[in-house]
């Protein structure tokens, strides 16, 4: 016995986490570094004769009106979609959290769309939004409203938002768990002190669930910023090769990136767009995390909790 026995040999830990560590290096870090290298070239996806162009792609990007338009559209989309989904899922959770008949059924119905594959979702909503044969215009027609072109500029932007809202059931389940974690004594104490229903909700329930609200906002922003498949399939079902057919008002940032890649064959320029977008998402996330200190209420001492969790 040359070595001293230890309960926790170091090598064992490294062996167990190696799949993740190698995967991270080879399948996440390496592609990102590679993407950065490609962004410094004028690579077109096929011809081997590409040149280094330094930061030219990035310089061009700053003067590209299409990029700015797509970015502005994406930010507007995010600013509309995130409050609607977070607020909507909280609203649904409040409804489901009441004593209702068949509450399990309603919860299943609300939750279900969030697990439907995006392709099926797009096919369904295209049928609903169809100008001549869609059920939506048929319902509006009963009320005397003339047919709306749901899948054409500029209305398609709002149609896309409706489609995004359809899948908010996952958020509802999270909010429901959060609501049920609020100690009832707190709400009752406030009621006894004379607070109304709304005041209790606003000043007791919301602060108590603010960490989860905050987390939902952060993930919601990250998800909304990179929406791509929904606008592609909602208006253009023939796939990535026809990404140019996406209407202008749903040409979000990632749609624009795919157009640079597969319509203009500008792999270098598209890679530069991806890196800039990564930095934008990172920056927004950090800003949100910073802002959380002023409005998110943590009941337990987070440092102590983290100690305990890390054990």
């Amino acid at each position: 016995m040359a070595r001293k026995w230890t309960r926790y040999p170091k090598r064992t830990f490294y062996a167990f986490v190696a799949p993740w560590a190698l995967g991270f290096l080879l399948l996440t870090a390496a592609p990102m570094v590679y993407g950065f290298l490609v962004s410094l070239t004028n690579f077109d996806g096929s011809s081997p004769r590409y040149k280094w162009v330094g930061l030219n792609n990035y310089i061009e990007l700053f003067g590209d009106p299409d990029m700015w338009a797509a970015l502005a559209r994406t930010l507007a989309f995010t600013v509309i979609v995130v409050p609607l989904t977070v607020g909507g899922s909280l609203g649904l959770a409040v409804i489901i959290n009441r004593r209702l008949r068949a509450v399990g059924l309603w919860r299943t119905v609300f939750f279900l769309p969030s697990v439907v594959p995006v392709v099926a979702m797009a096919i369904m909503w295209k049928l609903v939004f169809n100008k001549d044969s869609g059920i939506l215009n048929a319902i509006l027609g009963v009320a005397g409203i003339p047919p709306v072109a749901w899948l054409i500029d500029p209305v398609v932007f709002y149609s896309l938002i409706i489609v995004m809202l359809w899948g908010l059931g996952g958020g509802m389940i999270i909010m429901l768990a959060a609501l049920q974690g609020v100690p009832v004594e707190l709400e009752e104490a406030a009621r006894i002190d004379g607070a109304g229903r709304w005041a209790v909700f606003r000043h007791v329930t919301i602060p108590m669930i603010s960490p989860i609200l905050f987390f939902q906002i952060v993930t919601g922003v990250i998800v909304a910023l990179q929406v791509f498949v929904q606008p592609l399939l909602l208006t253009n079902s023939a796939g990535i090769s026809t990404v140019g057919g996406v209407p202008e008002s749903t040409t979000l940032y990632m749609v624009q990136v795919y157009q640079e890649f597969f319509l203009s064959n500008r792999f270098g320029y598209g890679s530069a767009m991806l890196w800039v977008f990564f930095l934008i998402i990172l920056g927004l996330t950090l800003i949100l995390l910073r802002s959380s200190r002023s409005w998110v209420y943590y009941e337990v001492d987070t440092d102590a909790e983290r100690e305990g969790a890390a054990r």
Partner: protein
Amino acid sequence: MTSTGTTTEERATPAAPTTRRLKDASRSKKRPVATIYILILLLCVFFVGPFVWLVLAALKTPAEWASLPIRILPEDAQWNNFVAAFTDMNFIGYAGNSLFLATTYSVLITLSSAAVGFGFARLRAPGKKALFLIVLATMMIPQILTLLPTYILFSRIGLVNTYWPWILWGLAASPYMVFLFRQFFSSLPKELEDAAIIDGAGWFRIFATIFLPLSRPVLITSFLLSFTWTWGDYIAPALLLDLDNTTLAVAITAFYQDPNGNTIPTVQAAAAVMYIIPVLLIFFFTQRYFVRSTVSSGVKG
């Protein structure tokens, strides 16, 4: 009957039982008024309506679908739309591709994530804390940003139009599943492994024979989630696979065209119905696993 169904399901959420009872008692006095039910009805129309309209479209003739004024119900249910969905393209072949990819990927990612989660939960070595922070941080890196560079890289080393990317992704563990497994393994008592260590068992044997069998609920959750995710994924197969060996998700958007190249909506609707049936079945029978994983994904922050 409804109430018992509800209470068992609610146990899956982390509410203390006493809290729950108090809450119910305080509410029992004022039953919600009819407006709540009207609201719920409208919401149900919103959430279920598209499914119903899809099924109705799948049962119409193209003429009925295009007729003006609109026809809600088909005259005769056109079951041959489903036959056409099978024969207009190699539906079974593409479904087989989807099944193979989803199963392979899910088995691999579940086992690799279990091993990594076990390492972070039960073992010790310098750098463990920092590595786990990286795991948490990578949860925030969206796959869609790395997919395009991955596509360029894979096409240069000849991995495009093979199933290798899914095998590699499966072997590499997913940060989210690692997190689920780590939470589970951390909650188990230390005594579990003590006897085995005294008997001279190595950590890998302890993991495989003691901890892995205990983690059945997490294994199931991880498998179901990965399976439905891969079955439903569109962008990775659309980028990485050619049309002749792609998955069902891509195939049903690419085929079902008339000679002029226009999609036949009724046949495509029939194909979409068959495409989502497996997902719906999995969801209805295993809803609690979906609820649990959604809840833990939401409160990790």
